[in-house]
Amino acid sequence: VPDSDIRLANANQPVPEFESPAFNRLRKPVSECRVAIVTTAALHSSDQPKFLGGDQSFRELLASADGLVLGHISPNFDRSGFISDPNVVFPIDRLNEMAVERTIGSVASTHISFLGAQDETMTSIRLDSGPAAAKVLLSDAVDVVLLTPV
């Protein structure tokens, strides 16, 4: 489905409002930050369990991971970009380049993958697997996450 159609279809989509949204300001320059990727492309390595419909769990992806599997199953999603270059959904090479250039401090050793197609509430992600994924990233001293909503 063309992006323009998706934008049009979602233009008036109601979104939840939270009374006290979690929001943290950076306390140091980006050039000193450790950065991780959080993708919703349902990526996983071949030895990890596949994502099932409605799956709200996450997979930990190693920065060195090769052979990632794209678990996204919507027919409306264009997979040719991922085949051409996985960086379109998992821009690990770009982050590594930015670390070499000192635009960012470093690249996390572990990144996170969720399944993008979810129900409206995302209850488990908000109350369980989301905070659990954040713990994984905090244990790797991550300061910033780059979201790739697919």
Partner: protein, 158 residues
């Protein structure tokens, strides 16, 4: 704190990727099955080059021509039971489409714009047209919506 940026990347268009199809090899086979078999060398080259494939959700690449044949029989007979026995129809369809799109990326000489590979599949290949026919047969025949509504992208469901 949140900031909107004016930059917007629009689709390059929905023109199909420029991709020549191999000539018919075995005229005794249904066109879609023959086409699928003929694309195997291109698919294999793409896999060797990139090391990536999205084929394998239900069937391996060796089963793609037979999966296409199941869709041929579905359209001819109006019965989708054989398809559902093969696996979740949407995943079977995705394996077939992924196989085609990956072969196309090898046959083409450029990286396709977004949605160009799917436009090529549904508009210019016998198997893509077969999928559209199968969707109509299943929908009109009363198949459960989950079995047909995800067979093809929404913009190809008219």
């Amino acid at each position: 704190v949140l900031e909107d940026f004016p930059d917007k990347i629009d689709d390059a268009g929905v023109d199909p990727i420029a991709c020549p199809l191999p000539p018919r090899f075995e005229p005794s086979l249904p066109e879609a099955v023959d086409e699928a078999m003929a694309l195997r060398p291109a698919y294999d080259r793409q896999l060797r080059r990139s090391g990536r494939t999205v084929v394998g959700k239900v069937s391996g690449v060796d089963q793609v021509p037979e999966a296409v044949a199941v869709f041929v029989r579905l359209v001819e007979s109006g019965s989708w039971q054989e398809l559902t026995e093969l696996g979740n129809p949407r995943l079977v369809a995705q394996d077939i489409r992924g196989y085609y799109e990956e072969a196309a990326m090898e046959l083409s000489d450029h990286t396709p714009a977004a949605h160009a590979a799917e436009a090529w599949f549904y508009r210019q290949t016998a198997t893509g047209r077969l999928m559209l026919d199968a969707l109509k047969v299943m929908k009109d025949g009363g198949a459960p919506p989950p079995d047909w509504s995800f067979l093809v992208p929404r913009n190809f469901q008219s």
